[in-house]
Amino acid sequence: MKTWLDAWPVVRQLTGEDRSGRGDAVRSRRTDTLTPRTATADRVVQSVCPYCAVGCGQRVYVQDGEVTQIEGDPDSPISRGRLCPKGAASKNLVTNSTRETRVRYRRPYGTEWEDLDLDTAMDMIADRVIRTRRETWQDEVDGKRVNRTMGIASLGGATLDNEENYLMKKLYTALGAVQVENQARI
């Protein structure tokens, strides 16, 4: 006869076969109705871990336009489904509440961040590039043609996509900026 005591996991663990408490003894009706987030995803998108250069395959689970889980991709011949703690935490990287999602602006000599519209920020940055380029332009150095500015520099991280690096180098070079560097130097 079932009593209220049978609902208590520790009793089931002590009296039943699941002495280690890792199986039936600790299952509840609620446990039985749970499904993994991955089972209900609308879509699964294949991706690559953004941390180190091993290049582990990732599967990104999406539901209602939100990332609900990121797991190792068992199809990958490099990682065979595994992820390290960082790769396994990459859902946290993407959905983290600490992530900045708005443009922030600090005016010269300012003491606080201010709000700024993205379009305005883009326009202001374009103006500064044009101005600095004009003010610092060099046609020649020591009588040799250089066609450049030494007033605009850039340092990129090595988590940039190839396509991003390509557009950066292409635009900077056309602008005449040569101090273009990357984590790869460091």
Partner: protein, 892 residues
């Protein structure tokens, strides 16, 4: 070599890397090899997670690796353990050098050609006899002796304006060696006293096991164990691999570390063969891609050098050295013209040199730290930081902050509010009073970035493999991809400049910049960008690879080594055929450059006749029936070139390679035991002490690399060598749970909880000597700055006996900063900037410091504390002027 190929290794030496900790998922292939019977050796100052899983851990003093590798080279040569047939056929061992070459043995630590006034080498005397080897195509500052391969050209390095050896040029070797003109005279018996083999033998003769012990602190018995494991696992039947990371690159002799391993692996016949080679473990998702398609000052895509003001007046000048040389660099004009067509399209025509003059020119070193020093002078108004946090990740973080404080405007693009965006608000110098928020003029734009799942694009991993990641969701709020940012920034600038008749605006206005966009934010198509990178032919369709490129303007290609990644109009990087449906080589997963070849130089996996060296190590070989090279990989060789092929007199580029020249990017088709062109600090690796070392160099009078790059001012003081004030060796490293400067890990709850605090590792002996308590606080100090850390007393750190004294080493992880969930002082505050002359990478894997119990002083007292240490050590003052400014006092 691919990471999976490690499973085929019979012996793996991991040195300069804590692979189990920093690349744990790749490490499964080391364990796979071990399970198959391979010997795993870990050489590292610390006993780490990698050591714990290795068969042998070899502790050594940080910064002494060339002495150990040189010792192994000497062991091989003095015992006749080289793979003789491979060495004779596939390396430059038989090449004969000029009579006027002098070794470090002759000049007490210098090679011939050193100019003490400039601290630079002229490499003329390092070249092969009789070939009048030209300065390499990368040696942009060296005068040109004419088309390469021509006999009796000029004297490289002799022109009056050869002001510096090779500023920023050595990295052209990123896709192969420097072009050399023609093939050298050879002595196939390797007996000629001036042949490379004999020169090498003499160079390393004093690198004995006893010398290795004196320099590295490795007992001779342990050394012999390593030597035996390596040599008994190399040859026809067996192969050994080396694995390294920034533990090798971040030194004043970093490039020579890698060279030393290359010499050893070439002597043992381990290059181009399954389970053999040298695996560089890079630390960022696309750091390989960031050099292939470089955001680096001295390179254009595909390791084409940036033109230099002095010598590259036109396109003919630019490609002259490479034109006519042996190997694939002989086609440099095709690659350069196709790149110019990709960038300036219709505007690029033969009569205007394909817009070659639209390219800005270099005049010297414009690398990262030099730029920061100039920022401090206030001469660089604008700066973009894109997914990079230099105030934590650069050596000498304070120097970086002083640079940021002296800009006019700064754009920071990141996922999180990183320290480099908030230096004006909460940087350490605000607390010390060296900077005052209200006096910092820098205007800061923080633009939030899209994460990897919010955009399409490709990463190039550590084994040259391009892997596509697809967009899963839209980025939140103002977050955008960097592709979006640069495309729309360029579009806006072009709109604002439209109608300008100023000739300096032509490169911007004539730029091809019409990528299709999609989605709610007008995201440019990453597929379209990759297609431009891969290249198109005369009919506008995607080319199959770089062999289709032409120099007449009929083809276009954004990066020649990536040419073919869009072959057949298919994004080859996006191939995801499951591993269970392929063999271990997995050629249909992603796409590897060049031409989807997974093991570089794999023609060397067959003997000179084209037969596999052994059944056990069979890979790519000549199939007489089909008249082709074949195997599980794409042959890294012309597919139908017979093993007995002898090139015609006067043949150029790849056609000048014989059937036994596997190293097809090299100017002579051979693996280089001796580098006749392209290095700034010597043709053979030589042990020099780190710039900051507690002991003298027992091998030569020369203490440190004579060609190292210095950059000095009040913001970057050096600890003197053998200083009693800074007596301990310090080295920095990574933890599994954190990533680089912490922007992507200290901000995450899970990872912050797993590694919650900055710490330093010290041995029980050092703890006793300095009164440090486990879990207590310690202050570490150098001539740059002082930091505090929790103390971890552990036997994983072991004092070494060096030169009759005990040398203590301290380990510190470098991930921390002021922002994020877990905060702490940055290890990089301690380190100075002193650089490798080839690549301008700083020596952050070894420096000196002092360590004391207790927390560091706060506020202005911190400045006094460090100043007092400088004074005692005889170092000049580190006091700064208003807003942190101070002049550049010395640069070399």
């Amino acid at each position: 070599m691919p990471q999976q190929d490690l499973a085929n290794s019979d012996c793996i030496v991991i040195q300069g890397s804590n692979m189990a900790e920093a690349h744990p998922v790749g490490f499964q292939w080391v364990m796979e090899a071990k399970a198959r019977g391979a010997t795993v050796i870990h050489v590292d100052p610390r006993f780490t997670r990698t050591s714990a899983l290795a068969d042998v851990h070899v502790p050594l003093r940080a910064g002494s690796d060339i002495a150990l590798l040189g010792g192994l080279i000497n062991h091989v040569l003095s015992h006749g353990l080289e793979f003789r047939e491979y060495v004779t056929a596939y390396t430059n061992a038989a090449a004969i050098l000029r009579e006027d070459f002098r070794d470090t043995e002759d000049l007490d630590g210098l090679f011939s050609g050193y100019d003490p006034g400039k601290g630079q080498y002229d490499e003329t005397t390092w070249q092969y006899e009789g070939t009048s080897v030209t300065a390499a195509a990368g040696q942009r500052q060296a005068p040109k002796p004419g088309a390469s391969g021509s006999a009796g050209g000029g004297q490289p390095g002799s022109a009056p304006d050869a002001e510096e050896h090779s500023e920023g040029s050595s990295e052209q070797a990123g896709s192969g060696g420097m072009p050399v003109g023609g093939k050298p005279q050879r002595d196939e018996t390797l007996q000629h006293p001036r042949c490379v083999f004999q020169v090498l033998k003499r160079h390393y003769a004093r690198y004995t096991p006893e010398m290795v012990q004196e320099v590295c602190g490795i007992e001779p018995a342990v050394f012999l164990k390593v030597a035996d494991a390596l040599t008994s696992n190399s040859g026809r039947e067996r192969t050994s691999a080396f694995v390294y990371s920034v533990g090798w690159t971040q030194h004043t002799v970093g490039v020579q570390y890698i060279r030393a391993a290359s010499v050893l692996q070439a002597l043992l016949g381990n290059m181009g063969r399954p389970g053999g080679g040298i695996l560089a473990l890079r630390g960022h998702a696309s750091i390989q891609g960031s050099t292939d398609i470089p955001t680096l000052y001295n390179l254009l895509p595909g390791y084409i050098p940036m033109p230099h003001a002095r010598e590259d007046r036109d396109l003919d000048d630019f490609v002259a050295e490479a034109s006519g040389s042996v190997g694939y660099w002989g086609n440099m004009r095709k690659y350069a013209v196709s790149l110019l067509k990709a960038w300036w399209g219709e505007a690029a025509q033969p009569e205007n040199d394909f817009c070659f003059d639209h390219l800005p020119r270099l005049t010297g070193d414009h690398s990262n730290y030099t730029t920061i020093a100039e920022q401090i002078q206030g001469t660089v108004p604008g700066y973009f930081l894109v997914g990079e946090n230099p105030v934590v990740g650069n050596a000498n973080g304070k120097m970086s902050r002083l640079g940021l404080a002296n800009l006019e405007w700064l754009v920071v693009r990141d996922l999180q509010m990183i320290e480099s965006a908030t230096f004006w608000q909460n940087g350490p110098e605000i607390e010390t009073g060296e900077l005052v928020t209200e006096q910092i003029p820098t205007e800061v734009f923080f633009l939030p970035a899209a994460a990897h799942v919010e955009k399409d694009g490709s990463f190039t991993n550590t084994q040259r493999l391009l892997q596509w990641h697809s967009q899963a969701v839209e980025p939140p709020g103002d977050c955008r991809s960097d592709l979006w940012f640069y495309f729309h920034l360029g579009r806006t600038i072009r709109e604002k400049l439209a109608g300008s008749t100023d000739p300096r605006d032509r490169p911007v206005l004539e730029l091809t910049w019409d990528y299709p966009t999609h989605g709610p934010h007008d995201e440019p198509s990453a597929h379209a960008v990759l297609r431009e990178i891969s290249g198109t032919g005369p009919d506008g369709t995607a080319v199959s690879g770089y062999t289709e490129l032409a120099d007449d303007g009929s083809t276009s290609c954004g990066c020649w080594i990536y040419s073919g990644v869009f072959a057949d109009e298919v994004n080859q990087a996006n191939r995801k055929k499951p591993r269970t449906e392929q063999d271990l080589v997995a050629p249909e997963w992603g796409w590897a450059w060049p031409m989807n070849r997974r093991v570089l130089y794999n023609r060397a996996s067959a003997d000179p006749q084209g037969r596999p060296w052994s059944e056990r190590k069979k890979y790519v070989y000549w199939d007489e029936d089909t008249g082709k090279w074949t195997g599980p990989d794409v042959p890294d060789f012309q597919a139908t070139k017979r093993p007995d092929h002898v090139p015609d007199e006067g043949a150029t580029a790849e056609d000048a390679l014989s059937g036994t020249d596997p190293f097809i990017m090299q100017g002579d088709g051979k693996a280089w035991l001796f580098v006749p062109a392209g290095l700034a600090d010597g043709p053979m690796p030589t042990h020099y002490e780190p710039a900051e070392s507690p002991v003298p160099n027992p091998l030569y009078e020369r203490q440190a690399n004579p060609a190292r790059k210095e950059l000095r001012g009040a913001w970057n003081r050096a600890n003197p060598a053998m200083s009693e004030v800074f007596p301990f060796v310090v080295t920095t490293y990574r933890l599994t749970e954190h990533h680089t400067a912490g922007g992507m890990s200290r901000t995450l709850e899970y990872l912050a909880e797993l590694q919650p605090e900055f710490f330093c590792e010290v041995s029980p002996q050092l703890a006793a000597e300095r009164g440090l308590e486990h879990m207590g606080w310690a202050t570490l100090v150098s001539a740059r700055n002082a930091i505090e850390a929790r103390v971890l007393v552990t036997e994983r750190m072991r004092p070494l006996r060096i030169a009759g004294r005990e040398v203590h080493q301290i380990g510190i992880p470098y991930h921390w900063g002021q922002n994020g969930i877990t905060t702490g002082d940055s290890a990089n505050e301690l380190l100075g900037v002193v650089m490798d002359p080839n690549v301008h990478i700083q020596e952050s894997k070894v420096a000196t410091c002092d360590i004391r119990p207790g927390r560091r002083p706060r506020g202005p007292a911190l400045v006094e504390f460090v100043e007092e240490h400088r004074r005692r050590a005889g170092v000049a003052s580190g006091r700064l002027g208003p807003n942190g400014r101070a002049p550049i006092e010395e640069r070399s």
